[in-house]
Amino acid sequence: MRRIISATVLNESGVLNRLTGLLTKRQFNIENITVGHTEDPAVSKVTLTVWVEDDCKAEQLVKQLHKQINILKVRDLTNMALVSRELALIKVLTTPDTRSEIKMLIEPFRATVLDVSLENVTLEVTGDGEKIDALIELLRPYGIKEISRTGVTAIPRGTQKKVLELHPYSIM
């Protein structure tokens, strides 16, 4: 299943290299990864989405990441109530006929037009991956020139439902 792992790391050079190198070594394929500062400039947060077959392997991944000296905290957010967002920039081919049609199409997706030229428009859309996929499929018939996606970033919700089965790594 797809897992969202969040790692709090020291903002030092080489940390990302170490993290991704570890995933390569243990044969995990990163679907997407986002990195940015947190409220503390010395600390960064890495959110990565990986495809992991079983829980045992997912546990290994979390533990191996946790072993790194400059990784402070690792959480598997997959089974938690969370808010996650991804941003995509999509450049779509337009003609004078289709331009307003596209504008109407994107409205329910709360996408906005960032740039317009004679042959194309560039759109910005934010949401979960499925929503972005749906918009891309909708726009495909018009001709997509370029897509740039940021990958998922996520944060657990303030209130977690008790009924959720969380996987605690309580042995540590």
Partner: protein
């Protein structure tokens, strides 16, 4: 007038010192006794500071020799081995040793020179991205950007290397950083928020293991190098004796539990004893202590401890549940955890029948080999080594047949006598590791047991024996082949001995003599006894080239993909 000017200049100098001097200071602060190294362009400032200091430095003849020597030193002393090499090829020559130390959890602090910060990234002369190269094979690594950071980084590195699950830490020092000056400041302490190894076990899990012991009928302990790293030998004996639990050992764990103890089953795994492997196969409670369930130990996981509740004590949480599903996970240092188990012990289970059964296995299916008076059997050779040294010697090996025979037949009575390349399986490891061991424990006899193949990978270190007159005894188990490769080709590749026979080889005795070292060729048991007795008494380096049965194989053996109960070559 002139004198006061000199004095003034000196007082300024003492408050500002070079990176290289900070390096020496850092070593002294960590009470480092010896460096194993090899100089070169990028470390010239460091070697200059070394020249002016009292620090002992062993110049090996190759960087690989330096790092394996440091590994041997660390294994027998429990202190981190310290290595120094130059940039580029100096650093890359260390890579095998770093990987070896990583997989066998040997504490090392490795210093490499680097080109100056001003030219890093320009493919400068002797530049290699050693930090990038060693990232997956070090516990942690650093590149020092400013001389003033060096004391803190060194303090952290020694701490990281020798605590938690031990391992190699590399510090890359650009040449200009070693030259630039900085103020000498006391390092305030170690601040590593991302590194807090768990030493004390969770008491609830300890309780669960105590309960499981009461339920069990057929418990077995599997002990590894974690017992030795933690110095938990006494606690282990107390625990095993109180509950009367038989003990199987991993290759690296040999010596952690006395081999002649009635509860000791011997080594488990691919070439382990029948008693150990059957104990792991039949047990209903398996207690792993500081062992990582390596594939050479478990065989096919589908048949490994299938009837057992698995309890795993390890300092590294990532090892627990990695290969074997674990019901009772205990994160903690072996010493602390075994102490906690000993302190909370209560009622005992009754394992008498189980112990009797395993003891019967031990006597009915011991390690054996076909004796032949006309030839020197390699197994006999190991037994003779044990007899002549009374089991007191430190034995270091490479990888392969000779390693397995030493593990099976040397009979390790005490801890920290056994140095071998377990996880990585490095040829050429044993001889330089023995040099490091002799430097660390000069009072004990040290024997490098090497194959004729492996010895040729690092035999340039004979130069170190000559240089320091180190009384290391090199025992070449000479079967004129890469024995283990040959054995597998015989069994699994219909005797197609593809590039594994070394019929052409140097005269090792003449080679030793070129280094001013005594040597002898031994073809019989009597030759070995005589030469070894002479060598031990002489307190000088010695090379003993033992011509052993060329086509002897290591048994028992578990073929790849087979379970622990499917041993071949078990003879009653």
């Amino acid at each position: 007038m002139k004198a006061s000017w000199v004095a003034e200049k000196k007082s300024v100098e003492t408050s500002l010192v070079s990176g290289a001097e900070l390096f020496i200071q850092g070593l002294q602060d960590e009470k480092v006794e010896v460096l194993f190294g090899y100089p070169g362009g990028a470390v010239l400032p460091i070697y200059d500071a070394l020249y002016k200091s009292e620090m002992k430095h062993v110049l090996t003849r190759h960087e690989q020799g330096a790092i394996h020597a440091a590994q041997g030193y660390a294994r027998v002393t429990g202190k981190p081995g310290v290595v120094l090499a130059t940039s580029g090829p100096g650093a890359t020559n260390l890579v095998t040793g770093i990987a070896d130390a990583m997989i066998d959890s040997i504490p090392l602090v490795i210093f490499t020179g680097q080109v100056a910060t001003t030219v890093i990234g320009t493919d400068a002369f002797q530049e290699a991205d050693i930090v990038g190269i060693t990232m997956p094979i070090t516990k942690h690594n650093y590149q020092v950007q400013r001389a003033e950071d060096l004391p803190r980084i060194m303090k952290e590195a020694f701490h990281i290397a020798n605590t938690g699950r031990k391992g190699p830490v590399l510090i890359d020092i650009p040449k200009d950083v070693a030259v630039k000056t900085a103020e000498v400041k006391e390092v305030a302490g170690i601040h590593l928020p991302g590194y807090q190894p768990t030493l004390k076990p969770n008491i609830l899990q300890v309780k669960r293991l105590n309960e499981a012991l009461l339920q069990a009928k057929r418990p077995v302990l599997l002990t590894g190098a974690g017992v030795l790293a933690a110095g938990a030998e006494k606690e282990l004996v107390a625990f095993a004796e109180y509950h009367q639990i038989p003990v199987a050992q991993t290759l690296l764990g040999l010596g952690g539990f006395p081999a002649e103890h009635p509860l000791c089953l011997g080594m488990a795994g691919m070439h382990g004893t029948y008693a150990s492997n059957m104990a792991l196969y039949d047990c209903d409670l398996l207690i792993g202590v500081g062992a990582r369930f390596d594939d050479r130990l478990t065989g096919n996981l589908d048949h490994f401890a299938k009837k057992a509740v698995v309890a795993h004590i390890d300092i590294d949480p990532a090892e627990i549940g990695k290969n074997v599903p674990t019901e009772i996970p205990i994160v903690g240092c072996a010493k602390e955890t075994l102490s906690a188990l000993n302190q909370t012990r209560g009622n005992k289970g009754d394992y008498n029948e189980w112990v009797i059964q395993l003891t019967k296995h031990k006597t009915e299916f011991p390690l054996t080999y076909k004796t032949d008076e006309s030839e020197l059997k390699p197994q006999k050779l190991m037994q003779v080594l044990h007899e002549v040294t009374k089991g007191e010697a430190i034995v270091a090996t490479d990888v392969g047949q000779h390693q397995m025979w030493a593990a099976q037949y040397y009979t390790f009575l005490e801890s920290n006598r056994w140095i071998t390349s377990g996880g990585l399986g490095t040829m050429g490891f044993g001889f330089p590791a023995a040099i490091g061991a002799k430097v660390g424990k000069p009072e004990l006899p040290v024997i490098a047991v090497v194959g004729d193949g492996g010895f040729q990978m690092t035999l340039q270190e004979l130069g170190v024996l000559q240089d320091w007159e180190l009384p290391v005894i090199v025992v070449i188990v000479n079967n004129k082949s890469l024995g283990m490769v040959r054995q597998w080709q015989e069994i699994f590749y219909e005797k197609r001995f593809s590039h594994s026979l070394l019929d052409i080889q140097p005269d090792f005795i003449k080679l030793a003599s070129a280094y001013g070292i005594d040597g002898k060729r031994a073809e019989t048991e009597k030759d070995v006894r005589e030469a070894l007795t002479f060598a031990l008494a002489s307190k000088k380096p010695f090379v003993l080239d033992c011509v052993v049965t060329a086509d002897e194989n290591v048994y028992p053996m578990i073929a790849p993909g087979k379970g622990l109960h499917e041993m071949i070559g078990v003879r009653g």
